[in-house]
Symmetry: C2
Subunit: 196 residues, 2 copies
C-alpha cells in the first residue's frame, strides 16, 4: 500500500489530498482539504499559511510520497509566480521529511484518470469520484485535482517493479487484471474511446 | 541600526548577504555567501539545500528584515520557475521567524545603488563595493546582487519615519547630510548624470 499526498499548488487555493493506493490499484481517499489565503494578505503571510498547512498535513498523514503539479511558466502569467512559490514550499516540506517527491503535468494527470490528456475539469472530477468510490467529486476543483494527482502517482508507484522519482515523467506499465477491470469501467463511464 | 538579509534567489546560485545599515545610511557588509545546487540533483534535493541554507543563515544572523528580488514571469522563462520556487522557500523561512519581508524589483535595486534603473551588473557591483567600503564587489554576481538588495532595503527602512513592508514598492525620502555626501561621491564615481 502506498500513501500519496497530492498537491494542487496555489496561493489562493492550495488543494491537498491523501490517497491510499493498493497494489491492485484500488485507491481510497483518506482526507482532502484546501488551504486558502486571501489576496488581501501580504505575500509572506500567504506563503507562511501554506507552509504551515503542508507541514501539518504531512505530519498528520505521514505519506510515502508527495505528488505535485508541475508548474509551467506559460500556463497563466498572472498567477504562475505565486503558484511556483507555493509549490517550492510544498516540495521543500516533503524533502525535509525524506518523503519522495514526484512532479506530474496536468496532461499526465488527465490521461491517467480519464484516459485523455485533453479531458476537462468536470471529466477529471467525475473519474476521481468514480475511482475513489465517492458520490461526488471532492470540492472545490483544487481538491479534486489534488486527489487526481495522488491517484496518478499512486498508480505509477504501485506498479510492480516501478520506482517513483522526482524526474520520472513518462512510461506506463502493463495492465493487470484490476487495471483492465478499471479501464473497462472507465470506458463505460465515459461512453467514449480510450486513448491510452 | 537595521540588519537586512538580501537574497538573490535561484536554484543554481542563491545569493545571500547580510548588511547592517545605520540611520545615517552607512552600510556595512557583515557576511555574504552563495548557496549553490547542481542541475544534476533532483528538484526536491535542490530546494531542500536552499531551505537549509536560508534557515541556517537567518538563525545565525537574526536580521530585522529580509529583502528578496521580486521575480517576474517574463524575465527568463527557462529559469524563472526554479527561481520562484526558491524565493517562495526563502520568504516562508523569514515569515516563520517573524522577520519582515520586502520585495524589490531589479530596477528599484539598480536605481537605489547606482542612481539609474538601467545600470548594468558591473556598475551595480562597483557601487556595492563603494557603498560597503570594499576593495572589490562580492563575487559571484549573485552575491553582489544580494548585497545590493540589502542596501536598497536598508536605505528605505532606515529612513526616519518610514516603515518597511512587503507591499511597499516606491517612494524616496528627503536627503540627509550623509545622503548628500553619498550622492556626491556616487556622482563622482560614475562621472555621469544622476537621475534620482
Amino acid at each position: 500500500m502506498l500513501r500519496v499526498v497530492g498537491v494542487d499548488p496555489g496561493l489562493t487555493r492550495c488543494g491537498l489530498a491523501v490517497v491510499d493506493v493498493e497494489p491492485n490499484r484500488r485507491a481510497t481517499l483518506i482526507d482532502v482539504t484546501v488551504v486558502g489565503t486571501s489576496a488581501e494578505e501580504s505575500l509572506d503571510q500567504r506563503l507562511l499559511a501554506i507552509a504551515h498547512g503542508i507541514d501539518a498535513w504531512l505530519d498528520r498523514h505521514r505519506p510515502d510520497a508527495l505528488a505535485v503539479e508541475r508548474v509551467f511558466s506559460h500556463t497563466n502569467v498572472s498567477t504562475v509566480m505565486g503558484t511556483a512559490q507555493a509549490s517550492g514550499i510544498v516540495i521543500a516540506a516533503a524533502a525535509r521529511r525524506g518523503i519522495a517527491v514526484a512532479l506530474h503535468t496536468p496532461t499526465e494527470v488527465k490521461a491517467a484518470v480519464t484516459g485523455s490528456g485533453q479531458a476537462d475539469k468536470a471529466a477529471v472530477g467525475r473519474m476521481v469520484a468514480k475511482i475513489l468510490r465517492l458520490d461526488a467529486p471532492p470540492k472545490p476543483a483544487d481538491a479534486a485535482d489534488a486527489a487526481a494527482l495522488a491517484i496518478t502517482h499512486g498508480w505509477r508507484g504501485a506498479a510492480p517493479g516501478s520506482h517513483a522519482s522526482a524526474t520520472r515523467t513518462g512510461g506506463s506499465s502493463g495492465l493487470t487484471a484490476a487495471q483492465r477491470a478499471w479501464a473497462e469501467a472507465e470506458a463505460a463511464a465515459r461512453h467514449g474511446s480510450r486513448r491510452r
